[in-house]
């Protein structure tokens, strides 16, 4: 059984304070929800920096490498043809494709990386069951604590929320495991 303890506030600044407080408790897995990227939210929630940039860099380099190798392979090695008396491997002429493939790979790998890291896409999530949670994408701000261990007592969290004036809801998900 997995439980989500959910606190809802109405503005960004409040959301940050709540986040900071709940994160301090250090119980369960804390997350926050907002209609837009709220500056300072990550720090409050103590989230590490995103790894997407490294993925993009890797993708870009691979793409460029593949790009140049491809041209060398096809025009210089597999079927070498005298074209206009130019050298078989005309490196300068190979630059554009190399560059474009670099860009293409970096973009695609970036997007894939984003999806994988934030395990999207998915059509359903337990929180969607929480009443009023749909406003997380409109004008409400939520802090959630994910409790996987049924033994853990949610009370302190709920208390903390109430102290900070957040409306609390608890979502329970049955899991067969």
């Amino acid at each position: 059984m997995i439980r989500f303890v959910l606190g809802e506030v109405t503005n960004a600044d409040a959301a940050i304070d709540v986040a900071r407080a709940i994160a301090k408790l250090g119980i369960g897995e804390v997350d926050g929800y907002a209609p837009y990227p709220v500056p300072g939210f990550d720090e409050a929630l103590r989230l590490p920096k995103s790894r997407v940039p490294w993925i993009v860099l890797g993708g870009g380099l691979t793409g460029a490498g593949v790009g140049f190798f491809l041209q060398w392979l096809l025009n210089g090695w597999d079927y070498p043809i005298n074209v206009a008396g130019r050298p078989l491997v005309s490196a300068p002429a190979f630059i554009p494709v190399t560059f474009e493939l670099g860009v293409l790979f970096s973009a695609i790998s970036g997007v894939l990386g984003f999806f994988v890291l934030s395990n999207l896409p998915r059509v359903w999530h337990p929180l969607f069951e929480a009443p009023g949670f749909e406003r997380a994408t409109l004008d409400r701000y939520f802090i959630s604590v994910r409790l996987t261990d049924p033994e853990v007592d949610a009370a302190p969290i709920i208390r903390a929320f109430e102290e900070l004036g957040a409306r609390v809801t608890v979502v329970e998900v049955k899991t067969t495991s």
Binding site: I81, V83, A84, G85, R86, A93
Partner: protein, 951 residues
Amino acid sequence: MSPMKRHLPLFGAATDRRTFLETMTAALALAGVEGCARPRGDALPFDRNPVDMTPGRPLDYATALPFFGYGVGMVGKTREGRPIKLEGNPDHPASLGAALAYQQAAIWELYDPRRAKIVLHDGQPAAFRSFLNWMHRKAADLGKTQGAGLRLLVDPTSSPSLKAMRKRIAERYPKSRAYSFSPSAPDARYRGTELLFGERHEVVYDLEAADVIVSLDADFLLTEPSSIRLMRQFADRRVPENKPNRLYVVECSLTTTGMNADHRFRARSVDIAPIGYALVAALAKATGTNELSSSFVETLRAASKTPAVERIPIEGIARDLARARGRSVVIAGLRQPPLVHAVAALMNELLGNVDKTVRYLPARLESTGAQSDELGELVRDIDRGEVEVLLIDAFDPVYSAPVDFDLGRRLGKVPHTVYTSLFADETSRNCEWFVPKAHELESWGDYQAQDGTVSIVQPLIEPLFQGRTQHELLAPLLDEGGGSARELVEGHWREEWKGRFDTEWPKALVKGAFTEQEQAERPNSSTDRLETALREAARQPAPEGIELALHLDARVLDGRYAYNPQLQELADPVTRLTWGNAALLSPATARRLEVKPGDVIVIENGDKSVQAPVYVLPGHADDSVSLSLGYGRLGAPHGTNAYLLRTSDALWFRVGVTLRKAGKREVLVTPQGHETMEGRPIALSTTLQGLEEERTHLAHMREPLPTLYQTWHYEGHRWGMMVDLSRCTGCSACVVACHVENNGPIVGPKDIARGRDMHWLRIDRYFEGTADEPSTIVQPVMCQHCEMAPCEYVCPVNATVHSDEGLNEMVYNRCVGTRYCSNNCPYKVRRFNWFDYQGRKTPVEKMRPNPEVTLRSRGVMEKCTYCVQRIERARIDARVQGRNIEDGDVKTACQQTCPASAIVFGDLNDDQSRVRDLYDDSRRYDLLHELNTRPRTGYLVRVKNPNPELA
């Protein structure tokens, strides 16, 4: 498990034949159901093994084509029994292995789906047999009356067998008459000799020994009998190493010959004669001869009193001629009256050119009378109602006869008319019987060249549409039995050769040419007849006003080639017009009449009038409008029919026509966009005097410029082509040869006007100097096969690349048609299949293409390949024999046919090759050298030889 087993499990190794066959028949029944290979089409072998023909290999036959009634020896290349290409016969003196556009294009005529296919009787389909029966009956009737009502109207021919047949007919029907008519017959020249010598002679020029040539309105390089031979001899003497000749041309409109003149003077056609007279007078003075009576010289002076004469440096020319006694020649044009020809002959006498540059031989053409007179007599006979049966085998007389004869209506008055022709045309509509004619390539026959060389015409293919030859048509008149053309021709030569036949005949067929020994005639001239004629001429006042000048067309001649799309789409060597003609005016005259190119004008000659678009031709004579014959035919309604203005009293020109604007415009259909070089160094020419310094200058126009890339090296063959602009006359034979060899499509006037010409080889014509007195230069441009080809590096799919021998290859089946290569080609020699030009062929047309060359599909680029199919064929043949390709093994189509031998192709790595000599020649330069494309095609600068005295 072998696939075989998978499909037919019945067969073990030890299946006996019978069970096999049984089960197979069963299997065959199941074939529909049984999953087997999708059909790949049928394969139909011969039912008997063909003799001496190897499928997949060409087979050549010697034959001949008529040109002005004379024979031009040809070699026809056939594949699986289909003629696919004609080339000149090297053993024939009138061809020397070369051919003009007319002969090259004959293949298209042969396979023309519009050719007449059935016998017509009063317009109704009939069997040839019924025609024969009718003929035999008629022959019987005519026999009773000694052929009183029998008339023949035929093309003047040199065919010995035909001449013999006609003679026999004349003997059998003494009262019958045979008239000959051809709108382009060279009768004036015959009658000229008659005027001077008292009898008619064949005039045969020999330019090999001629240092100075004067042409009085003669286009001897293109539209004259023996022009192929003359062009070869002329061109051989144009290269500076070869003691260049000097050509003076006085002419009305600009012709191919005029384009190649060292000194060209323009004069109305009517003014040529006086100029001729003046030249004789001047010549008499210059040579200091006493052969001419002073009175005669006076008459000459009197007859040459026209302003036109003043404009021409007669004395200078005369002196130049006099310096070249016995090494000069004066030629009068076929358009000029006999008197001018006589005068020309007289000059050759004075200059002692006879038997050196001019020879007189027995007349070859059966009829040598004035064509209009002969036709006139027929017309008279018809009006008198003397004609009962009229057999016509002449070029579309109703269309081409002088209008005042109104032949179309008159034919209606003849009880029985028989006409034969390749196409249903104006005449066929007016005749009782129409019999499809066999094309020369389907016929047996024989022709004679000017110099007497005989060639046997042997068919390369069975008649496609049951066509008949003139022999077969005349045969019923003299029932000698054996009516087939072959029997008749063979019969004739069996007579001629008596016992020698069996040895001579095969030789004649194989070699394609044999000469009967005969003595050149040395007629003695007398100027009396001339003098009287001149007095007559002197009495005429110099005619004033605008002159209408009719010309033989450089492409359709007198119209007999007008149905040939290949020639219609060929650009005129001078005007570069295609699909039609135009009214040619000099810039000055155009200005005076306030007409621009493309404006349609009405030309009125008495009560006759035609409309034609104006083409302003630099170098045309003022106060004269030129119109070429042969257009506006029934089946080829392009251009203006000039015959509507042609009257029997003035076949070629008449002063006193009126021109007025019709108030509309017409598109002049031409593939060439611009007339001048804009001062760019493209087609270079210099003079003999200026050649030396030019050589040093040219050195900078062939050395490869530095490049960042390291250049490729070509071991083995290094194909290259050299074009000698000194030799090239612009006759355009190469253009057609290339088009036929490489299956070029015909796109029609609309696309040509849009700029979608499909010729791989084009001849650019540029004017330099003033618009009134321009100098003209022509330049054949085909793919230059650049070693650093701009077209190649822009092709995204590797469809145009370089071969290991340096050919710029165009791979049609890889091309996607981005057309980027064409954009980047500085020579613009690439051609694009905008539509499916090759599709939609009738079965007959499908027989034409050269199987060695791919038919390009819609949407692909194409261009000159240096005839790579010929290279590969030569390579395979050589390698199978275990040797390498030698110089001369490969001749490109353009090189092979060039009468001027201006194009040379070969291996640049071979020091012994001819092309290498030219490659190393200091006259060589690269086109657009500064782009450093390193072309394999090189040009040799043109060298003119003007008379310093006149310069």
